[in-house]
Subunit: 526 residues, 2 copies
């Protein structure tokens, strides 16, 4: 029994995390995420429920062949044998045994009411199910962990029975008993009391598995560790059913950076931001910008006073150096920003504005005026940079003169609709009339624009529109509404964001598109 | 000194919350949110920083005239007098005094390093700034609270000085000393220790103000209350700088529902979900679906096993009855859903499918097939209901036959672009060719479609497209991408969501639009 080995960081993104509303992972997605989790250095990756979920059976099959994990062991999740059936005869238990995973984590009911109402069997039979399944898997050479489902509620309802479920599991050879707050209703103080009690008698490693229904999943997990748990479960970006599971990165960052407990291999915490965002690319669920440690806004400062202090020392308004988790400090330009923010932002973009008070004032005023009309520069660094250039050099960079544009989308019976844009402009003294096609109006305009100026500027061929966000700004309702569009353009190596505003969404998009291409051309000039 | 009165629930959405990246509130927005906060029953609404922020000066002017608050008192936030200036001569202090607010909350540095580096003054002068400003405002008849900025960091750096700042404030007449974890780096156990220590000597009400940088803002707040704090600060939906402030609804729900502490007027917690979403409408930041208590997913169940248990008793997988915070239980239909989920979802929508196993199987198979092509029914209840009707009745409701549609957006020099859609269809035996205008292609198609069928179905006049979400489903990259569109339609009384999928975004939108109108017409039939 490994009580002296490394602390267990156990990731269940691919199993419990996948139960989040809207989350749909293919087998390829899961393999990709598993590689990211291994890069982070977690000790265990719970890959799914083979046998019960065909996608998961396939995942384990491919994982054992295709994944070369450097840090993590694969765990297969599943239930104890069915009531009245022998463990060796239960096909779902066989699927766990044969999954190829290093560890099997069995979920068992530890709340008497669940045994009676959900499983519809007796308390004795439930203990036998635990005993038999753990014993069987151990005899087959498997390492077994226990997930004690509904443990905290079960402990409150019937402490003796809940503890007996645990005892039955570890007497049969389970190496970890993970106490699960399945319904998420616990608070930290209560978790600590229960974990202390369990630790009095448990002869084995105690784990903790929390959900965020009271907004305390991370704190509950830390409280359990404080009370002696040495195995923490959670998910990347807090994915999970209902309010989600404990955010594993926040738990680990707190353990390492606040409580001086090294739980990941040396240096890997610095990869956390990159990995959290990489996983989010796969799940298609962008991490919340306010997410602790790794969110885009986690170290972003808006208030003018904060920016002034940060000019002196970033530590004045940051609880840690963002590099510790691979994140960055960002300063926002907004109507809350003062001159200090504009100067710092300018410096971030490579402009030294400190000598010219009048220039900084002019820029600050223009930003506030544009923002009152719906523009936002908080997310659109490239648009802000074009504004800076305009103020510093006296005019905005211009590479072409637009005469007009038009875009049509036509339905075609029995086939996909076609979007077609025609742009008329003059570049380098030559007039172009160019039509481009696309899978939507903005996509078609992007193609038409770039094809139109390609002769004059061949470098636009490598530009690509990679993201597009629309927000209706409700200055009232209905016809008064203004639209704001953010467009992300990439040249294959880096990407930048530009903003467009207008009453018509396509017009607003056109504005952001022109800025995006202009910025790309300016950058190419060096 | 009001140590025996009601617990203080102090909302700073309009001041600290407004420091969130991307959040921009007009004065009208702030007044609207203030009314919502009053409906929730908070005791204090911190409206902003009058004098320093012109929008806030205006807010307080209009608030004192236009708001009839039933539950809350307005608080004005601001700084102690500037170093070397008399309180009575400081214009920012005057702005606080004259704001019309019932309470002034003064922020003061309680961390010696901040006094020296950020304020650039002496430790003594900082104490005088606190003493003079509090004294001056009290002499003018103001109630004064203190926000001890950076308190926990300051306490660790120089405990004596931090405590002296507090003492100076309450000796001068401050009624509350709110300890602020401004940089957000604290953990619950540490907060408890510090609050205990402060409570040993403080003769006045102790408050707590936390940020979520370690993912523990709610837990830190509860730890402070456990240690004797009787004034909690936070924001709706956890808005705020960086990772945000403590989510005030989660704090209050935990206090009332878990710790049996009534802190809002009787019954108002049940309005929490409605109010959290109403405030989000104004800020244009939808609450995270996973947000504790009030998120759309907070009581949403996806796993088939969970649904089976919930069929027996919802309490088996929920830590409380969602009605307590005004939320609802939802069951998802997805490829994780089993037959039990489909049955329960059908029942939720008014269909009794329990007698027909073959029907349920057919529906489950169709859902999985459509989802593999990019459809999602998790958010699109109306599309799912149309599918149910199609399977139950043998055919999908059809009110018109579409021949073709086309939409053009034209730029106009010196004016806004115009979007124009032409739809050709037959309704009730009559062929219509109708052109509609809009502020974008989908808006124009919506108008053209409804105008085309209005003669046959006059009830479509009250339908309105109120929300529109696009997601590119990355089945590869570039031209293979499929687009999924979710459209929310309202008839003025309720609203519903439909989904459309296609290679062309306008085509996908058209699909969702047709479903949205069809659903509205079906519902109108009764």
């Amino acid at each position: 029994m490994d009580l002296h080995g490394a602390f267990h960081v156990y990731d269940t993104t691919l199993r419990d995390g996948a139960q989040q509303e809207g989350l749909n992972l293919s087998v390829a997605d899961k393999l990709s995420i598993a590689r990211q989790l291994d890069d982070l250095g977690v000790g265990y990756i719970e890959g799914g429920w083979p046998g019960a979920n065909p996608k998961d059976t396939e995942f384990f099959r491919r994982a054992t062949q295709e994944l070369s994990l450097r840090n993590a062991r694969l765990a297969a999740f599943g239930a104890t044998r069915r009531a009245g059936v022998k463990a060796a005869d239960d096909p779902l238990v066989a699927a766990l045994r044969d999954s190829g995973a290093s560890v099997v984590t069995l979920v068992a009911k530890s709340h008497d009411r669940h045994v009676e109402l959900a499983l519809r069997t007796t308390l004795e039979e439930n203990l036998a199910m635990v005993r038999d399944t753990v014993t069987h898997l151990r005899e087959e050479g498997q390492t077994v962990f226990l997930d004690a489902e509904h443990f905290f509620d079960g402990y409150r309802a019937n402490r003796d029975y809940a503890l007996e479920v645990l005892r039955t599991a570890y007497d049969a050879g389970a190496e970890v008993i993970a106490l699960c707050d399945t319904n998420g209703g616990m608070l930290p103080g209560w978790v600590a009391e229960v974990v202390h009690d369990v630790r009095e008698t448990a002869q084995v490693r105690v784990g903790i598995h929390c959900h965020n229904d009271t907004g305390c999943a991370v704190a509950n997990t830390l409280a359990a560790v404080d009370a002696g748990a040495t195995h923490v479960q959670g998910t990347i970006n807090g994915y999970g059913e209902r309010t989600g599971n404990a955010d594993l990165v926040a738990v680990v960052a707190n353990l390492e950076l606040k409580l001086d407990k090294q739980v990941l291999p040396q240096g890997l915490l610095g990869e956390a931001t990159r990995i959290a965002h990489a996983v989010a690319e796969v799940t298609n669920f962008p991490p919340a910008s306010r997410q602790p440690y790794v969110g885009a806004s986690a170290f972003t400062h808006k208030a003018g006073l904060h920016a002034s202090a940060i000019k002196v020392d970033p530590d004045l308004y940051q609880h840690m150096d963002p590099a510790g988790v691979g994140n960055d400090m960002r300063l926002l330009v907004s109507d809350m920003a003062g001159r200090a923010s504009i100067e710092l932002k300018g410096r971030e973009l490579g402009f030294d504005l400190s000598g010219d008070r009048e220039l900084v004032t002019r820029i600050t005023d223009r930003v506030k005026e544009l923002e009152s009309r719906g523009y936002t520069f908080e997310a659109a660094d490239a648009s802000f940079e074009l504004l800076l250039i305009e103020e510093v050099e006296g005019q905005r960079p211009t590479y072409f003169d637009v005469e007009s544009w038009r875009v049509i989308t036509d339905s075609r019976p029995g086939d996909d609709a076609v979007s077609e844009a025609t742009v008329k402009l003059t570049a380098d003294g030559v007039r172009y009339v160019q039509t481009g096609e696309g899978n939507g109006p903005v996509n078609a305009l992007d193609h038409a624009l770039r094809q139109a100026i390609e002769q004059a500027y061949p470098e636009v061929a490598k530009l690509e529109l990679i993201d597009y966000k629309v927000r209706i700004l409700d200055q009232g309702h209905g016809t008064d509404a203004t639209t704001r569009v953010l467009i992300e353009t990439s040249d294959g190596e880096s990407s930048w964001i530009t903003v467009g505003v207008g009453a018509n969404v396509i017009e607003a998009s056109w504005g952001a598109l022109v800025d995006g291409v202009t910025f790309g051309l300016r950058r190419h000039e060096g």
